[in-house]
Symmetry: C2
Subunit: 314 residues, 2 copies
């Protein structure tokens, strides 16, 4: 069974890691949000892409979920000693990725070419695609009228400003990565990882072309919320600020026009009936991923659920 998975950062990467243990490289492709990409210290940083790659390469920091394990902080300290910017913590190993990526982008290589090259070096066998080789930048418009770059909002301001709406700058001119579209066309099921629908998955879905391809396939999403809360990140806070009570139902509602199956947590079992009313096939299970075992168990359940959906649609 071939899966094309859409992913954002830490939560999404965990499920992808589980799926990659169960599926060979020709049966799992990953399409990653790059709306969070930004420049820091003049370096091009792709936080979600790196989180997915580091996780698949088993180089990720197991505590934070992002960044590198066994990391060093020399550069961060030296730049702080020189009164340089310090709101974004980048470890030395992680920084090497950004330096070389920036160098190669400036040489004219595309983000997808660079990602493929890095994956080869890190031993990542499953194809990992940035959603686009064109720049899309998530901008957070706040209740106070500010327009913040996503990392400025997420890291520098610790998600404190109240969100009014999101803007994906450049999205009209961005094109889906052709290899990503091929992966969707060749797959049996598209899986949306447990990532923030607003800022991790929407940037992918809103690039002209993706939804048209995804509609042709069964689509299974895994909720990033449990009991109305996000395990990490501001998804629940954003829902509330946008006037929607954060819940599994709200996530399903977000995707409902294209959703075939939806996987959410036992804690949210009471929402089952409301979700099934939309003819969405539901799986209620333990979706919390605390450790590697949880990732593999959930990935197995996701694949089994995808099989069920495929059999139903046959």
């Amino acid at each position: 069974m071939k899966i094309a998975a859409l992913a954002g950062g830490v939560g999404g990467a965990k499920l992808i890691h589980g799926l990659a243990k169960l599926l060979p490289p020709d049966e799992l492709s990953v399409i990653v949000n790059t709306g969070d990409d930004f420049e820091y210290l003049g370096l091009n940083i792709s936080p979600d892409l790196d989180t997915v790659c580091y996780t698949l390469a088993e180089l990720a920091n197991p505590v934070t979920g992002w960044g590198r394990k066994d990391e060093c902080w020399t550069i961060y300290q030296e730049i702080a000693a020189l009164d340089g910017p310090k709101w974004f913590h980048i470890g030395d190993k992680d920084l090497a990725t950004h330096i070389l990526r920036t160098y190669k982008l400036n040489q004219g290589l595309t983000l997808s070419e660079i990602t493929a090259e890095f994956c080869r070096c890190w031993g990542v066998k499953h194809p990992v695609f940035p959603m686009s080789d064109q720049s899309v930048r998530t901008v957070v418009h706040t209740a106070e009228g500010e327009a913040l770059g996503f990392q400025e909002y997420f890291v520098h301001q610790a998600c404190e400003p109240v969100v009014e709406h999101f803007e994906f700058v450049g999205i009209e001119d961005a094109r889906p990565l052709p290899q990503a579209i091929n992966a969707i066309e060749a797959c049996d099921v598209v899986v949306i990882s447990p990532s923030n629908p607003w800022v991790s998955i929407d940037p992918i879905l809103k690039i002209p072309g993706y939804v048209e391809s995804i509609r042709e396939k069964p689509l299974v999403a895994v909720s990033p919320l449990i009991g109305g809360k996000a395990l990490k990140g501001p998804a629940a806070k954003i829902y509330a600020e946008l006037g929607v009570t954060p819940s599994a139902w709200a996530v399903a509602s977000h995707y409902k026009d294209i959703l075939t199956g939806f996987i959410f947590d036992e804690q949210d079992h009471h929402e089952l009936e409301k979700i099934e009313r939309w003819r969405i096939i539901a799986l209620v299970t333990d979706i919390l991923m605390k450790n590697d075992q949880d990732r593999f168990r959930l990935a197995e359940e996701v694949l089994r659920f995808c099989e069920t959906i495929l059999n139903r649609s046959r």
Copy 2:
């Protein structure tokens, strides 16, 4: 007594370090070659400027003379693991300087502004000036007809190609740093540190404006050669390839139109008469700087010699 000193990399930095121990910040200014500057991994690197600053800040690697002490090599290793460029060894601490410099240059700050800011953070009290805020790039034209950037020649090709001549690209349009000219105008003696005349001092002297200012002052140079050999770097090899037997005399000859006093090693005592024939005042002493004590001793001798020269010209 006020000194304005011209310097290149390691050898020059050692003498500057000695002079800085003896003179307060308002009596010693340092004007540093930037012809060796180059881009590596998209980062702006100023090898001589960094060597002088690190040495004055007592952050320099005492073994190599360049780079930082207690250095780490994480980034170098990670970039090598990603099949990135690896011919130029940059440690992590050193790299932080280059990242922040590049970032600030791209923000529109000048190299001299950035250098002043870094010096403040590193606790370097003596003014250190890049020779110019405009780019001058030393290019090595080789006997095989190649044109190599200086670091490409010096580091990547380990000075192996035979030198035909040097070119300082951009030098016609470069302007001396105004603060450096002020320092020369305010000084009692200009000192040329024991740096490579061809590639460390010539780029400074050939920027239109420097020689005109320097001519107004007594000029003392310290030979970078002992017994016809350079302690470090290709100075002797370059002399030979340009058809000049490397010697103290050859160095004095290089500067003879502007030279008042010349300090060279006891080993080269036999050249004294030949040098004095040009009415250059000579000091023959032990110029080898193996350790900090040597730097301070030589710096004391340089200052005493400058006093002598000043008294003679009064």
